[in-house]
Amino acid sequence: MIPEIGQYAMILALLLAASQAFFGIAGPWKGQQRWMAAVYPAVAGQFVLLALAFGCLIWSFVHNDFSVRMVAGHSNSALPVYYRVAAAWGNHEGSLLFWVFVLSIWTLAVASFSNTLPKAFVARVLGVLGIISVGFLLFSLATSNPFERLQPGLPDGVDLNPVLQDFGLTIHPPMLYVGYVGFSVAFAFACAAMLEGKLDQVWARWTRPWTTVAWMFLTTGIALGSWWAYYELGWGGYWAWDPVENSILMPWLLGTALIHSLAVTDKRGLFKSWTLLLAIMAFSFCLLATFMVRSGVLVSVHSFAADPARGIFILAFLVLTIGGALTLYVWRAPMLRSSAGFDLVSRESFLLFNNILLVIATAVVFGGTMAPFFADVLGLGTMSVGAPYFNPTFMLPVLPLLALVSVGTFSRWKRGALGESRTRILGSLALAVVLGLALIVGIYGDRSLLGPIGVVLALWIVVTSLVDPLDRLRRGITIPASVLGMTLAHIGLGVVTLGITTMETRMIERDVALAPGQQIELGRYAFRFEGVEDVDGPNYAATRARVVVTHDGKPETVLFPERRNYLVQQQALAEASLGVGWKRDLLATLGEEVGKGAWSFRFQVRPLMRYVWFGAALMSLGGFLATLDRRYRRRKEAADERAAAISGESLQGGRA
């Protein structure tokens, strides 16, 4: 009964989404006030119905209704209740319902917080979001119904893939989805502006907080995913350039570019058509990511559901939304002219370089991810592109990007006045070099080239990010939330860079077989294997090894790597054991028994690993702070006045 209620709720939500799309687009077009007003109840109703549907799905999982195909296929009565809840979105059908549910939340938020915006504009935004919702609901109901029944039902379920039974994974997809779906708001704002044929600085100010929030969730989602891969997949990898990971990285890179380009459009009224294109592209890549994960054209760890029929549906949907938006772009973009100009060393050009480099980085990732597709379509045979391509190529745009963050921080809007900041730029660089050298020579004792460059760039970013806020503090000026947010996010970027470079250049890894009592040394750490014991988990039986770690002979920590055998699926899985610390992570993975009580192990010492996640957290927090800026909550009239005042001072000759 409950699953059927969920099913009906989805169908009703589809009808409401269709009316939301129709009234939202047709209302402003025909000038019908009442049509535009009809959009709001549709939005609210859709949210209620989808919340109900999603609730029904979770209910089916929690109550072990194994007559529902999806519950039978992805859950089990022995599974702890929180994993049963998480199992609701740990699969294709459920994650789609979750997608539209999140979309309905975003839509409701847009409808609620946009009362200062022109009615017709909001109606169009909601209309575009309605179209997206229709597409996903149709897709879900037609090809991937989460409430499909099994006749007859099963006595017990098949269980959730053990790899997915983990806390990190219960929250990582929701974060990503909230981020993905969030970019649909920027996309809808872009489409609405194009439908209106008008895009001004106020538009950029409306779009900015939504984009930043979406970006914040995406950042958190990526960090959580990488953290999950790091400790759950058991081999210490945190980024594998897997096609699915790449498909998440691309919208993030474009979203980062969009945030910066929106800043220029907001403050200076430049880059208008470029910002539009970025908004379309960022969301397109979110859809593309969904397509790549869910259609089965890519075979990877992540695509546990593969079905070409679904692929064709998503492709048709992509053509409709992205193709539609890009067609609109061809028609409208030429009308957007910027009247202002800027100097070569102004903040505008640094942000332009930022955008160019981020787009190049996206292209690098895209090229590597798509090469197997192209090779296959052109009949060149199958191939795979991995870290040997991505690592060096990705550096090319990213290293200059990191360097520009520091210089760009000192630049001013419009005019080229780096001269007065030259001492600061050189001063901060010198400080970063000194700190970097101290770190490298004093602590690392390193000779490689990439390590020092990365470390110096990272420290330079941190140092320069602090200059402006400290300056404001010294002069007693209040620091706006947006500046604080930006500072924090940039420091986060520096910290991530520091973590990744140090870890990549200084990591020690050893694969060995040890008998009880034997030990192996990795640098100043020694790992001693003391023996194994059998332990039982809720739905698995495991062999657990005891490994004592000492640092310079002093006891450091004890690690308990496990080899788990999941009873229902008869799947064996290595559970790595981590010794976490600010200076380094220690990692032990248990392999196979190699005879006479000896076991194979993998040990790793990963310096500054924590900094990668910590930096990512700083970036997300920075994004959050930036959205709190009072500018975004100022009344519409005031904002209009200010925008008019700014465009009034524009100089002659546009160069954007």
Partner: protein, 176 residues
């Protein structure tokens, strides 16, 4: 042509690529199996032909072997059978069977009727070893070198031609 149409053109091109690759998706695997170049997952399973014995992957280490996933329910396996017999006759590699989600009696009868190309047949009734190998159907075959590393994977039927042109050179190239 205005420059604002370029994104649309690029997108159209991408749609074509996706369309073509989707059309081919059921026929073959797109990204090379992640297992190629990795150690073959270990297994230890009941022996189909000797009651009470087990077949261990470790036994075959040190020699080339072809792990063939099959079942009596699989029509293509029947088509592949003669090729497997020929490969076994050729003596270059041992052919190891992984009887996948099958009925033991039916499987034994199949080998009596059609001839046995396998050095040993492991019974994987629940498909747990097959999960380790990322098998999604039968037939599927993995060519494993003496170091225990998977060097090639065939999804679908091995033909005399594909054996000669791709797998034999791999074996001869390295075992010399």
């Amino acid at each position: 042509m205005n420059r604002f149409a370029l994104p649309l053109l690029a997108f159209a091109l991408l749609v074509v690529v996706f369309g073509v690759s989707l059309k081919r998706a059921p026929e073959k695997q797109f990204v090379k199996s992640a297992l190629i170049g990795k150690l073959a997952p270990e297994f230890s399973l009941p022996d189909l032909l000797t009651e009470g014995a087990t077949v261990k992957s470790a036994t075959f280490k040190g020699h080339w072997y072809l792990l063939n996933v099959w079942g009596t329910w699989c029509v293509e396996c029947r088509a592949e059978h003669q090729t497997l017999l020929d490969i076994q006759q050729g003596g270059k590699v041992a052919v190891v069977g992984l009887n996948y989600k099958d009925d033991d009696t039916a499987a034994r009868q199949w080998l009596t009727e059609l001839g046995n190309p396998y050095t040993a047949v492991a019974v994987d009734r629940e498909g747990r070893a097959a999960i380790d190998y990322g098998v999604y159907g039968a037939p599927e075959s993995f060519l494993v070198n003496p170091q225990g590393v998977i060097v090639h994977k065939v999804v679908g039927v091995i033909t005399p031609d594909s054996w000669r042109s791709t797998m034999l050179p791999l074996i001869d190239g390295v075992s010399k």
